[in-house]
């Protein structure tokens, strides 16, 4: 059931991207809605494929689940903020950590923040939720049985 949900989310995200690309073919060019399709669709495919990879036995444990949700919220949120906030990158630009506000939200929100929690989430969940000694032994046993 969980896998089906993840695949559905993945296909839905792909459909959003397809919609964005389709809108770009309009004679007048891509309307603003197209960027929203790509922003949310891209965040969706990355979070969905992450959840798909982290799921085991049709279940997603709390840490990988939180990582996938947080990835979607961070990426989609940063892109949404950049699309929603008024442009202010000229002479009077307010700089945040060295960049104009909208740019800082995208560069730090998408380019840095996930790096602060994803590797930690992976390491924290590895021993119990990703690959145990028992898992390895199960794979080796299956290989031996196949060879026999």
């Amino acid at each position: 059931m969980l896998t089906r949900l993840i695949i559905a989310a993945f296909v839905l995200s792909c459909t959003a991207i397809a919609g964005a690309y389709a809108l770009a073919f309009l004679p007048a060019g891509a309307p603003p809605l197209a960027a929203w399709g790509l922003a949310l669709g891209s965040a969706g495919v990355l979070a969905a494929v992450m959840a798909l990879g982290a799921a085991r036995h049709g279940r997603l444990r709390p840490i990988p689940l939180a990582a996938a949700i947080l990835t979607f919220l961070t990426v989609a949120g940063a892109f949404a903020a950049a699309l929603l906030l008024p442009p202010n990158e000229g002479k009077a630009a307010v700089l945040v950590l060295g960049f104009p506000l909208r740019t800082a939200i995208v560069l730090y929100g998408v380019g840095v923040v996930p790096m602060l929690f994803l590797p930690v989430a992976y390491a924290l969940s590895f021993d119990d939720d990703t690959l145990t000694e028992a898992d390895l032994e199960r794979v080796r046993r299956a290989a031996r049985e196949r060879q026999a």
Partner: protein, 502 residues
């Protein structure tokens, strides 16, 4: 490739004795690693997957070195100089893709190596779907992209060698091929991984050092931004000079497409202890973020210098890195950067030599139900043949090389992401879906890129061939798998099912 041509502009200054000494020292270390690895390469398993004996630190740094080709040091900063923050969207997803790759691919690939002793990417696809057709088709797609990548990098390396040693372009290309070939053909991927480790360290040190000089020359990041925003209101906008759709399209292709890059995925087979994967995302993210500082910093610093009138505009954007290091850093740092550029090209070529040889020695014969008797010997022979073909293409085809180099990433993504990355994690995927998606990605990429190259047809702004091909191959994969879903369970061997479940 256009990026590299511009290195010639800095040729005289690049012949500074300190720069040359560092380059020569670099080649000597690479040669020594090649000799060491050659003595330890005794069979095809050693040659193609380093005997499955690589530690997590060398693996992570080698993966970073292979991921970031010369583009990260030359073309990338040039693109940042041209289109501002829009160019950062090529690498923005690196904050996610390292962990993503570990969750989606690393464990499954390594366990497939454990269960079946697999050595290539098409091997994994064949085992997952019990399909020689999928193995053969994915091998063909990889070979098409590999020859282009290799030719582009040989040409680029030849230009750098010519600029540094005054050899002339033709001899430079041959020298680049011979140096890379010498350690790849003897030491196989073992030599490749350890030269990648050395090259990765060179690139990281060079990037961090140059970034220090970027901040110093520009008055910090705020100083750089102030200089740029004073004259240009869009350059430092969230999408830079690109339309939002184009920037986001780059994010999609380089984010999801990272799961289809065979020179990275192939390295997962080589890890000695699969339980050490725990630290892979952390190591890879650290190495990648440090090495990308140069990519982001140099282009912005050069644009700030031009905006403030301190420097005249660059004639060619790709001069950004050579111009910056020659003007604002000591000769030793410039030498380190140019060694890093050579390192980047060689580490990428070496990986492609190896997986290309594996496709010819191992995958294509198996796709036709045959097996090569001595895979080590034939692996070496095919490495040589592929290198010769790539050099000939690089020498005689001019703009074709640039064309071949452009679509490599997209071709890998559209042909391998569905069957490999999704296929290894979704038991509902079918053989028919895998074959259809690989065929779709291969056909669409070749057709659309060729039509665009000959200006017969062009896509609207914001839609890229690689993005469209990746998207359509994914949709075909899901659609065909859904229509043939009744066959999914019967196409899965019991040991592969275990690998997918754990």
């Amino acid at each position: 490739m256009r990026a590299w041509l511009l290195l010639q502009a800095g040729a005289p200054a690049m012949r500074h004795p300190v720069i040359l000494a560092i380059a020569v020292g670099y080649f000597l270390v690479v040669g020594a690693i090649g000799v060491w690895a050659a003595r330890r390469t005794r069979n095809a398993r050693d040659f193609f997957v380093a005997g499955q004996g690589i530690g997590i630190v060398p693996l992570a740094i080698a993966a970073m070195a292979s991921t970031l080709s010369g583009f990260a040091f030359i073309g990338g900063p040039g693109l940042v100089y041209s289109v501002g923050t829009g160019a950062v969207f090529l690498v923005l997803s690196a904050s996610i893709t390292n962990t993503l790759g570990a969750w989606v691919l690393a464990k499954r690939m390594r366990l497939l190596g454990e269960a079946r002793g697999l050595i290539t990417i098409p091997d994994a696809i064949a085992a997952r779907f019990r399909s020689p057709a999928a193995q053969g088709l994915s091998a063909v797609a990889m070979l098409v992209a590999i020859v282009g990548y290799m030719a582009t990098n040989f040409l680029a390396l030849g230009l750098v060698i010519d600029a540094m040693f005054g050899t002339g372009l033709s001899l430079g290309v041959w020298l680049a091929m011979l140096v890379t070939l010498s350690y790849t053909v003897t030491g196989g991927i073992l030599a490749g991984v350890y030269t990648d480790l050395f090259e990765g360290l060179v690139k990281t040190v060079a990037s961090v050092t140059v970034f220090y000089f970027v901040l110093q020359a520009g008055g910090g990041m705020a100083g750089i931004s102030r200089a740029i925003t004073a004259v240009d209101a869009t350059f430092l906008g969230p999408w830079g000079k690109l339309p939002a759709l184009s920037a986001l399209s780059l994010f999609f292709v380089f984010g999801l497409g990272s799961l289809g890059q065979p020179h990275i995925a192939h390295k997962y087979y080589m890890l000695k202890d699969p339980r050490r994967l725990k630290w892979y995302p952390m190591l890879m993210s650290l190495a990648m973020s440090l090495t990308l500082l140069l990519y982001v910093g140099v282009g912005l610093a050069m644009r700030a210098k031009v905006a403030s009138g301190a420097l005249p505009p660059l004639v060619r954007a790709d001069d950004a890195t050579p111009a910056f290091v020659l003007a604002f850093t000591p000769s030793a740092v410039a030498g380190l950067v140019f060694a890093g550029v050579i390192a980047a090209g060689m580490s990428t070529v070496n990986s492609f030599m190896n997986i290309g040889a594996a496709a010819l020695t191992h995958d294509l014969p198996r796709a036709f139900g045959r097996r090569v008797g001595n895979e080590l010997r034939w692996g070496r022979i095919w490495t040589l043949v592929l290198s010769l073909v790539a050099v000939v293409v690089a020498q005689f085809s001019g703009t074709l090389v640039a064309f071949l180099g452009i679509f490599g990433y997209g071709l890998f993504a559209s042909t391998l992401v569905p069957a490999l990355a999704i296929g290894l994690n979704w038991q509902g995927a079918t053989r028919e879906g895998a074959v259809a998606s690989i065929a779709t990605g291969l056909t669409l990429t070749l057709m659309l890129e060729t039509l665009a190259y000959f200006r017969v047809f062009s896509l609207p702004a914001g839609v890229t061939v690689s993005g469209l091909s990746l998207l359509l191959s994914l949709l075909v994969f899901f659609a065909v798998s859904w229509f043939t879903r009744a066959r999914a369970a019967s196409q899965l061997d019991s040991d592969i099912r275990v690998v997918m479940e754990v």
